[in-house]
Amino acid sequence: MQKIGVFVCWCGSNIAATVDVKAVAEAVKNEPGVVVSTEYQYMCSAAGQKMIQEAIKEHHLDGIVVCSCSPRMHEATFRKTAEAAGLNPYMVEIANIREQCSWIHKDMAEGTEKAIILARSAIAKLRNNMPLQAGTSAVKKRCLVIGGGIAGIQTALDVADAGFEVDIVEKRPTIGGRMAQLDKTFPTLDCSACILTPKMVEASQSEKINIISYAEVEKVNGFVGNFTATIRKKARYVDELKCTGCGLCMAKCPAKKGKNEFNMELDNRPAIYIPFAQAIPNVAVIDPEQCNKLKNDKCGLCERVCTAGAINYKQQDELIEREYGAIVVATGFQPIDANPLNELGYAENADVVTSLELERLMNAAGPSKGTLVRPSDGKHPHTIVFVQCVGSRCDENTKRGKPYCSKICCMYTAKHAMLIREKYPDTDVHVFYIDVRTPGKNFDEFYRRAVEQYGVDYIKGQVGKVANENGKLMVQGSDLINGEQITIAADLVVLATAIEPDPTARSIGTMLTSSMDTNDFFTEAHPKLRPVESPTAGIFLSGVCQGPKDIPETVAQAGAAASKVIGLLAKDHLVTNPCVAGSNELLCNGCSQCEKVCPYGAITYIEKEVRGPGVREVRRIAQVNPAVCQGCGACTVTCPSGAMDLKGFSNQQIMAEVDAICL
């Protein structure tokens, strides 16, 4: 029989005023297992704690129940007390007879009766407690950043600055991401490249940062502090170490029909190319779909012109396996495909463009060298219509777009309108909008400037149709303020297309077992209190992969994610919470239900030989990684066989409490 000690606290008069503490101590004396039961004025005081410790030693107690204030207040205190006396800290149970008894009841008899039941319930639970040991796991001092946009770069810089190694894995040939494609940034109108490229250079020059470009994460195993990632570095056919980025090969390459992704496919690039002048790494890459040498073993011109001897047609994909303590997801976004939105005529009309295409059209390094022209005929447009919320804020049931607000469109449209009116004052600019959303520092001022100072015509209403009539784009829309249908004959129509998570996000989320919402944005561990962490421990979120945001927000979040990573990597060991789930392998069916409800991806399955009474066979059974499990218990209820149980809150413990309360 276990030996249990019960200690009833008066809490001065806080408890003793409405609970007869002596009666409580007396009443539980004969409970099974109780060998000592006593009371004291302040159990949490040094004297009270000493009393508990002495009782533990004197009576060789296996467990103690403290009837006192809320466990949220002093559970940790009494666990330490017990531990100091040689008792396992998890053999301590608290009966909350203050917040949930003495403070809310006025009648002494009633309060005492309830306190006795609460004490019995705690004793009943304690009889089913097991000593638990907190485990530790070592932390690998290296961080993986998936995505090399501004979010990934900023996180990497901050983590590296704290002295930890960082690998940035970028799927494109260069880092820089979407921000590199932007012309100017709101609300200051400074040049995007001017503020981004120094950061790219800084990242490339940092001793702690290793940029793995043109590469994708293929597999991730492990858990917080101990991830192993397999990274596929795609064949560039160019030796990164030898290539000087001189660009000669680009000039000589005869295959010039490749779509220029960087310019939103508004112009072409050669089969061997460097995405843009400031690319990091500034190394060429061969597009195997375009290259005649790789496709038909003909040409080979670039190899011949390359003085550095960097061209290598035989290059293969390379698999890199590395261990990380933390992983940051910074996979960013892409604009949605506007092709399916038939009524806006994007698919048919070259002069209906997306905002990101407009960025390139206005950029000095863009296809038109910064002169705003119509893609169809290269002429200067005189009437431009902007259409807001294209694919954003859609009714979920219509499946025509995203339910959420893409957040950045109002501001960049104001920016575009302003820049156009500034550079080409003869241009009429109309903006169809549902609402204009400008919460942000200097944002509303910026928008008002567009309207008031630059005379941009904002029309509240939605566009119903864009039709091409003899080269003019007839934009039909409603003007809700004037209550009329209007048609504007435009030369250029710009669609503020919604942004959506990068298409690789879903597979990365699955790989990392970090949860995502229905829109494929990564879910944060807590929407308010832990906005940069994934529920899966050791996975952090940076930038738009978590939800639409603009550059300053992205950078802020990137920094926050970095500080969380630093906080993790700064530890040598992680102490794991011992109140975690565990599966009884003799009962487990391996049915995979628990895995589906685990918010942390803590459950995996193995084929294992199970041995028990009359049992010896290989079965698929669930395993809980105690370093990852947070102890919520979702799995325990999903498990039909009762194989999955939660330490510290086991089925038996809770049922014992229920029994004691209902007695």
Binding site: S70, P71, R72, M73, N96, R98, E99, Q100, C101, W103, I104, H105, K106, D107, E110, G111, E113, K114, I117, L118, S121, S515, T523, A525, H526, P527, K528, P535, C579, V597, P599, Q630, G631, C632, G633, A634, T636, V637, T638, L646, F649, N651, I654, M655, E657, V658, D659, I661, C662, L663
Partner: protein, 145 residues
């Protein structure tokens, strides 16, 4: 034991998640917001830890009402626990209803750590409902009477 209608008092078990509702109950306590002593709280890490078995067990052992309290949807400490709890309890309650057990003996309420007043109000309301429903005769185990 004969049950005297006048002295009969309901037995109510309240499962409260550690992070929100249990804290809410503590707040009700610090605010000295009274609710009936017949309500006894069992602390669970999350509302998703509440197994339908526990609820049936409580009724078996003589409880007259069971209430499950958790964080508001969206606020779960474990991100999704209360969403699972919500489905599980919906299904369980529906089955109890289908078997003809009185409605109202079971309830789910989302109570945040800041809602001490709501906690007390909920408990008072629930105790009142259970008192009106009277003793749980349909789902108890005679051996525990």
């Amino acid at each position: 034991m004969s049950v005297n209608e006048k002295t009969w008092k309901p037995k109510v078990v309240a499962f409260c998640c550690n992070w929100c509702s249990y804290a809410g109950a503590d707040l009700a306590g610090s605010g000295r917001l009274a609710y009936p002593a017949e309500i006894k709280i069992i602390r669970v890490p999350c509302s998703c830890r509440v197994n339908p078995m526990f609820i049936l067990r409580a009724f078996e052992r003589g409880a007259d009402g069971v209430i499950i309290c958790g964080c508001h949807p969206g606020d779960c400490h474990y991100t999704s626990g209360n969403y699972y709890a919500r489905r599980r309890m919906t299904m369980l309650f529906s089955m109890l209803d289908f078997l003809g057990i009185e409605r109202g003996r079971t309830r789910v309420e989302w109570v945040s750590a800041a809602e001490g007043q709501k906690f007390a109000n909920t408990m008072n309301e629930f105790a009142k409902t259970i008192t009106e429903l009277g003793e749980n005769r349909k789902l108890g185990d005679l051996r525990c009477k």
